[in-house]
């Protein structure tokens, strides 16, 4: 064996262990991550720190920022409308997540029972299509469909003898309607996730259950759901993070109204930050929203330690 092959082998072994084999490799690594690091740093990492920093200042974008300590946070926790927007967001987000998970799971289980592949593809396409439209487009046509006087929904309810429902023109109605519209559009996300993970449940486990005489519902709750519980947790976390940022639909359909019934946190942040040019106060709202999201996500993972079954 020559010295050269020994050297090469040594270099390969070194590389497998993850040690830099040369300065060249390290330099290459830095060059490769350079662009991503630059853009993620400038437009994500630094803004996270800056958002926290700005929340201690009073700033209208034009004049010099003025350090105000915790004043923005003190103001936030005594600002009735902004506090209410946190409550509105939390309520709507919870409703969206619960409906999105249960309906998505139910439909996934039903589709999963279909034996024909083309039937499964057909339903998957149907439930996925709303996801292809932008929330702006959805908000526009849903606004027409749920119109109080001329809307198609109230027209058909009228045929059944039900008087016009103030879908978007009453406080509770608007919040509930926006929840339904968000669920309608997002259902494809949880559905596709759950179908994929139900497919991965090993058939021998299901067969064993069948031989032991477990019925359909028993198999569902005792075997399928526990086995896909990591996916359910993932869906719950992602859906909640999204729902806590609910903005487009209420902004376009109701402008946060009637009154402040659908003014979510992101809408109050938009109003304070970009309409009233209170960048410091807007940042404080953003930081509290971020904290709320992190706390709720943490709670989800905590609950998951008891409920989620990892193989």
């Amino acid at each position: 064996m020559s010295a050269v092959t020994a050297e090469v082998r040594e270099a390969v072994v070194k590389k497998r262990r993850g040690h830099p084999s040369s300065h060249g490799e390290a330099r290459f690594g830095f060059a490769m991550i350079g662009l991503s690091v630059l853009f993620v740093a400038v437009f994500t990492a630094i803004p996270i720190v800056a958002s926290l920093g700005l929340s201690f200042f009073s700033w209208d974008v034009i004049s010099t920022p003025e350090y105000v300590g915790l004043e923005n946070y003190r103001r936030l926790f005594t600002d009735g409308p902004v506090l209410k927007s946190f409550g509105v967001t939390l309520g709507m987000a919870l409703a969206i997540v619960v409906l999105q998970l249960t309906i998505g799971l139910g439909l996934a289980v039903l589709v999963n029972q279909r034996k024909l592949v083309w039937v499964r593809t057909l339903f998957r396409t149907a439930f996925y299509l709303p996801l292809l439209a932008s929330t702006a487009a959805v908000s526009i046509f849903m606004g027409y469909l749920f119109d109080y006087k001329f809307g198609v929904v109230n027209y058909y309810l009228g045929l059944l003898g039900i008087p016009n429902v103030p879908w978007l023109t009453s406080g509770f109605g608007a919040a509930a309607t926006i929840v339904l519209i968000a669920v309608w559009q997002q259902i494809g996300f949880t559905f596709v996730l759950f179908v994929a993970s139900l497919m991965s449940v090993p058939t021998d486990v299901l067969e064993a259950a069948q031989i032991d005489g477990a019925g359909g519902l028993r198999t569902l709750f005792r075997i399928k759901i526990p086995l896909i519980s990591p996916t359910i947790l993932f869906a719950a976390v992602v859906a909640l993070i999204n729902a806590m940022q609910l903005f487009d639909q209420p902004y376009i359909m109701t402008k946060g109204g009637p009154g402040s019934a659908t003014t979510t946190v992101t809408i109050s942040m938009y109003q304070k930050g970009f309409q009233n040019l209170q960048f410091g106060y807007g940042s404080a709202i953003a930081i509290v929203l971020l904290a709320a999201i992190l706390v709720i996500t943490g709670l989800q993972f905590l609950a998951a330690r008891k409920l989620v079954f990892y193989q």
């Binding site: 830099p20 830095f30 991503s36 993620v40 709303p130 971020l290």
Partner: protein, 279 residues
């Protein structure tokens, strides 16, 4: 199996199918109504009952929407912005995803850890500083602001890294021994095999940024710079109640590219959704 459980099973199966069909009708109904109403004359667009099947389709709304608002302009803006982001992120994320998966360099795990941490932070909670930075670079009210601030992606990097991690290292080692440079090894061997992951990332980015409303609303002021979703919402405001069929024609035009892409690349859309779930 007794006869009663057989009947029970059949009832269960029929109920299941019925629920699926009703759910599919609810999912598709609003979309179908949007398409068929965009084909009604402006005068009868808002009259009930709705026309579920356009017997006498009227395409005048589709020309009207070009006359009333600069929808062509919005379309071009959307194509340019979305296209540049898709291409740009494909490059940045493929490069960095490969480096994090295959190359060892000092500080790799720390930098990757920071990337993962930023994935947890929603865009809306950092939008104010991002807006300030955009302004600082003189990009406010420019469609380019949407592109530049979306060129890096921790999620995209993560997605590409996961894919490269599954590839055999021996191929690259062999190429290196044969005298290929680090970059040649990446470009000629690994990047070529990354097609499915690149397609997934590109599709995910296309559908996400094509539909985007929030950043355009905050970054753009003049109508000439609007992207489609922002322009459409403006259109709705301009026209009032008279002719919703024109607005809906615009809506259909905006959704169409995504639907066409979905027809041809359905599996990458699905892969995009499930990609995040596999830890």
């Amino acid at each position: 199996m007794t006869e009663s459980t057989g009947t029970l099973a059949r009832i269960g199966r029929i109920t299941g199918v019925a629920v699926l069909v009703i759910a599919a009708m609810i999912a598709l109904g609003p979309l179908l109504w949007t398409v068929t109403t965009s084909l009604r004359t402006p005068a009868e667009a808002f009259s009930n009952p709705p026309q579920w099947f356009p017997l006498h389709p009227d395409f005048s709304n589709y020309s009207a929407v070009f006359d009333r608002i600069p929808i062509g302009r919005f379309f071009v803006n959307s194509v340019v912005v979305t296209g540049l982001i898709v291409v740009g992120q494909t490059i940045t994320c493929t490069l960095s995803g490969y480096a994090f998966a295959m190359i060892s360099f000092p500080g790799r795990s720390v930098v990757f850890g920071i990337f993962l941490a930023t994935m947890m932070v929603p865009l809306q909670t950092i939008i104010i500083p991002v807006f300030v930075i955009i302004r600082y670079f003189g990009l406010s009210d420019s469609p380019l602001s949407l592109v530049v601030s979306a060129l890096g992606s921790a999620f995209g990097t993560f997605l590409m890294r996961q894919y490269f991690m599954q590839m055999p290292r021996e191929l690259g080692e062999a190429a290196r021994i044969d005298g290929a440079s680090h970059f040649q090894t990446f470009l000629m061997i690994y990047a070529k095999m990354a097609g499915p992951a690149i397609a997934t990332l590109a599709i995910l980015n296309f559908s996400g940024f094509w539909a985007e409303f929030y950043r355009p609303l905050i970054f753009l002021q003049s109508q000439d710079n609007f992207t489609l979703p922002l322009g459409l919402v403006g259109l709705q405001g301009n026209l009032g109640t008279g002719s919703i069929s024109v607005v809906l024609a615009g809506v259909v035009l905006a959704i169409l590219p995504s639907v066409v892409l979905f027809i041809f690349a359905q599996r990458y859309f699905i892969a995009g959704i499930t990609a995040g779930a596999s830890r």
